[in-house]
């Protein structure tokens, strides 16, 4: 009996792995379990080989495992491609007749996915629902959970489509009941309500709640999911979602909208972020709030469009020409993505600066069961002037805080000048040296000093007396946490940074100075965080555990690296 199970569904793009993956996630949550699901897919619409992997457990789970207890191959190629990922004693499901495999051979369980689909639903294309039903039965999950999840997934589709998918799933479920040897999974149920959420979804919900009224972007994986969700709720929440002609337009439109007083956001991935850098500098110079998310993917250039990496850290810290204040948030979980997106909107508006959220494909597109009580943000506040304004109003008035009162054009009864040239307090072009120096102090020194006081504190767990301390930012949070919990031979603590700029140097120094050994865990090749820590604290860590093959860390990879002491 196991209380945890990893299931992988593999096949060609277009075979519906994502659809049944989501159905299974909902079915398991409905059965009272926790899920973590990640997607591994190629940059193509049909063909190739993709998989959807779910980890199901009675306890909360946060990171992917390397091996799966059950692998369902929806096509022949998947059988041998994924066999190496099968856990000891695991079950590889294949359709012997359809794939032309000799039935009765050891090494796989023959489930006639395609024939059952044709029989039960009239067409082979329903084989993914057969697989879904089979997995429901094989995990001792009541069929009603799968049925209601299917109804929900196909909501709005013709009744016939829904009933055929349910019939196909039922056929798979009934077939599984004849395979008593599959039924080794019996977790205790966690219960309660949960949200099935990925990082993109969490960010969209937080943006909406934070009063985002303008979202412009150019579609780019893996940020497109956020744009889709914003678009889905645009009408309901009165948000303008505009597909821009390019990322340059996307960021400049967001800045224009924000200048006029709408809370504005854009998101992209590295290549689009590169195009936005000129606009980032404009937001800083004109002191216009804007929230910009970079869902990182492997680069340089087009890289791996659908895979994951954390290599834009240096880029986000420096994006944009010139010197100006910025904040860079690096959430590690959907819950943090929710809270920090809210903080990004607040920070952007309060300090009138561009604020960045660094996510990545792994965080953006991995689903988990999230408790509603873990989605938190403080009440939304506004920091702008409307209505009657003093006649001597100056948009860039100099003061001790660096933050000038921001009147909204059209909503205030004054006129507002904003300028990308160096400008006077009134916002007019100037070449004056003293004004220039004062404006740089305002935009950079004063704002940075204030921002630094509000940096999110690094989260440190089990750091005291640890043999080794893992240090990471962004999406490595969960895998560090689980690795620290499960490393047996070496006492492991971890530190997670959910904000890397302004860098929490004092806190990091205090945490690291007594550490026996500390290493960074990064999904990049350069160890960018290790370099940043050294630059900001002077502390040179013992090394880094790096992964730059475009795939996320899995728990076993990190635990092995820890236990073998393999560092880069």
């Amino acid at each position: 009996m196991k209380n945890e199970l990893t299931i992988r569904i593999a096949g060609e793009a277009g075979q519906g792995m994502q659809t049944i993956g989501a159905v299974l996630c909902r079915a398991f949550i409905s059965a009272g379990l926790n899920v973590f699901a990640n997607q591994d897919y190629m940059s193509r619409i049909r063909g190739g080989n993709n998989f959807f992997q779910l980890r199901v457990c009675s306890k909360p789970v946060h990171a992917p495992r390397r091996r799966a207890d059950i692998i369902v191959a929806l096509d022949k190629a998947s059988v041998e491609l994924h066999r190496p990922a099968l856990a000891a004693g695991g079950l590889l499901v294949a359709d012997a007749k359809k794939y032309g495999l000799a039935a009765g051979t050891a090494g796989f369980a023959d489930v006639p996915l395609y024939a059952l689909a044709a029989q039960a639903a009239g067409a082979e294309l329903f084989m993914n629902s057969v697989a879904c039903g089979f997995l429901t039965g094989a995990t001792c999950t009541d069929f009603r959970h799968a049925e209601s999840a299917i109804r929900r997934a196909f909501e709005g589709k013709p009744a016939e489509i829904i009933s055929k998918n349910i019939a196909a799933a039922k056929a798979g479920y009934d077939f599984s009941l004849q395979q008593a040897d599959c039924r080794s999974f019996a977790p205790g149920a966690a219960g309660g309500e949960a949200l099935l959420l990925d990082g993109n979804g969490a960010m969209a919900l937080a943006a909406i709640k934070s009063g985002c009224k303008f979202y412009s972007a150019y579609p780019m994986s893996p940020s497109t999911g956020l744009m889709e969700t914003m678009s889905q709720y645009a009408e309901q929440f009165g948000i303008a979602v505009e597909q821009a002609e390019d990322e340059i337009a996307a960021v400049n439109m967001a800045i224009g909208a924000s200048f006029a007083g709408a809370r504005a956001m854009t998101a992209t991935s590295g290549g689009g972020f590169a195009l936005m850098t000129e606009g980032i500098s404009l937001a800083a110079m004109t002191e216009t709030p804007v929230v910009i998310a970079d869902m990182q993917r492997p680069a340089p250039a087009t890289g791996f469009p659908t895979r994951t990496e954390q290599a834009d850290l240096d880029f986000a810290l420096h994006a944009g020409h010139g010197e100006f204040a910025r904040a860079v948030f690096t959430p590690g979980t959907p819950e943090q993505a929710f809270a920090l997106t809210a903080k990004a909107f607040d920070t952007a508006e309060r300090y009138q600066i561009p604020v960045f959220i660094l996510s990545d494909q792994h965080l953006a597109e991995s689903y988990r069961s999230v408790r509603l009580s873990d989605l938190n943000m403080p009440p939304v506040k506004r920091y702008a002037l409307t209505g009657k304004i003093a006649p001597d109003y100056k948009r860039y008035a100099l003061n001790d805080t660096g933050i000038s009162p921001r009147a909204l054009p059209g909503l205030a009864d004054c006129v507002v000048y904003a300028d990308s040239d160096e400008h006077t307090e009134e916002g007019h072009i100037t070449e004056d040296a003293a004004v220039r120096a004062a404006m740089v102090r305002k935009r950079f020194h004063l704002k940075m000093a204030a921002l630094a006081r509000e940096t999110e504190k690094p989260q440190a767990v089990g750091v005291e007396n640890a043999d080794i301390v893992l240090v990471g930012f962004g999406s490595t949070y969960d895998v560090m946490r689980e690795a620290a919990e499960s490393a047996r031979t070496i006492k492991t603590g971890f530190i997670h940074l959910s904000q890397v700029w302004p860098f929490p140097a004092q806190e990091m120094e205090a945490l690291l100075k007594n550490a026996k050994k500390a290493v960074t865990v990064e999904n990049n090749a350069a160890g960018q965080l290790a370099r940043l820590i050294r630059r900001e604290t002077g502390i040179k860590l013992a090394g880094s555990i790096l992964k730059f093959d475009g795939r996320p860390f899995d728990l076993e990879y990190l635990v092995e690296a820890l236990e073998t002491g393999r560092l880069q």
Partner: protein
């Protein structure tokens, strides 16, 4: 309002005799005629000599990046459709660096007015060819003469389906002010390409050069005929027509998107957004 109400005290940084002065006067005259108070007007510009214009006009101003006036203007207009948005841009800003935004904002058809100071040369960077510089024009960079064919803004705009395309001349402020008024009252993207001498760097297309060629379209011309308008837009040699070359009624972005039926987005209560209905879509209850 009078044109003088739109004066600012900001010292003007253009060369004496620059065509921009005529355009500035026309803009102030047109804004005064619009009846809109300065606090309800937003002038957006990019970078170039033209882009300095908003600093000399008493109304809201967003002086953004080179080539990026249109996206900033589009964002501001979508955020607050009650703002009167006018873009002051140049041939380099709008047709060169910002060419992609020009094309796509014609498609977007927001209710904004775009005034392109078209002096067929780069002024701010001191005399290089612009997208509208004629072939053969010799500059310090194009020392053997420009070899690229010039971009033809009105033909492009009409081909793209712009609902208002006009040509003015900085030497005829009164006529130009009339065109700007028409552009501002037109519902949708209104392009006004303004021929303008650059006294410092364009020794070919001078005030005299333009004056000899331009003529005003009279009431016998029908700007609603798109094919005739295209032919008229092609007239860009010895004779250059001034006036509204093409105008048609077309659904605006605001109408197509439903923005016109909502209060401006900037007026929304953002302090109390209730996302519970959205959270329900993500929720799964354990049964």
């Amino acid at each position: 309002m009078n044109p003088e109400d739109f004066d600012t005290g900001d010292p003007i940084a253009w060369c004496p005799g620059c065509g921009n002065f005529g355009i500035l006067n026309a803009v102030k005259t047109a804004l005064a005629q619009s009846g809109r108070p300065p606090s309800q007007i937003l002038l957006v510009s990019g970078i170039g000599q033209a882009a300095k214009l908003p600093h000399y006009v008493n109304c809201n101003c967003f002086n953004g990046l080179h080539g990026r006036a249109l996206p900033a203007a589009a964002g501001a207009k979508i955020a607050n459709r009650e703002l009167t948005v006018v873009v002051a841009t140049g041939d380099g800003d709008c047709y060169g660096e910002g060419g992609n935004h020009f094309i796509h904002n014609i498609r977007r058809n927001l209710d904004i007015t775009v005034i392109v100071h078209d002096n067929q040369i780069y002024g701010l960077t001191k005399g290089q060819a612009s997208p509208t510089t004629d072939q053969g024009h010799i500059t310090k960079i194009q020392s053997a003469g420009v070899i690229l064919e010039p971009l033809r803004p009105l033909e492009l705009a009409i081909a793209m389906g712009a609902s208002f395309a006009a040509r003015g001349f900085s030497g005829d402020t009164e006529h130009l002010a009339g065109l700007i008024v028409k552009g501002m009252s037109h519902k949708g993207f209104a392009l006004i390409d303004v021929l303008q001498p650059c006294v410092s760097f364009n020794k070919v297309n001078t005030y005299q050069w333009y004056s000899k060629r331009v003529y005003k379209l009279d009431s016998s011309y029908n700007p609603a005929d798109r094919i005739a308008a295209f032919a008229k837009a092609c007239e860009l040699g010895d004779r250059i027509p001034l006036g509204v070359i093409y105008e048609t009624a077309k659904e605006t972005y605001e109408e197509k998107s439903g923005l016109d039926k909502r209060p401006p987005l900037v007026g929304a209560d953002i302090l109390n957004v209730d996302i519970n209905p959205a959270l329900k879509d993500f929720a799964v209850t354990a049964e």
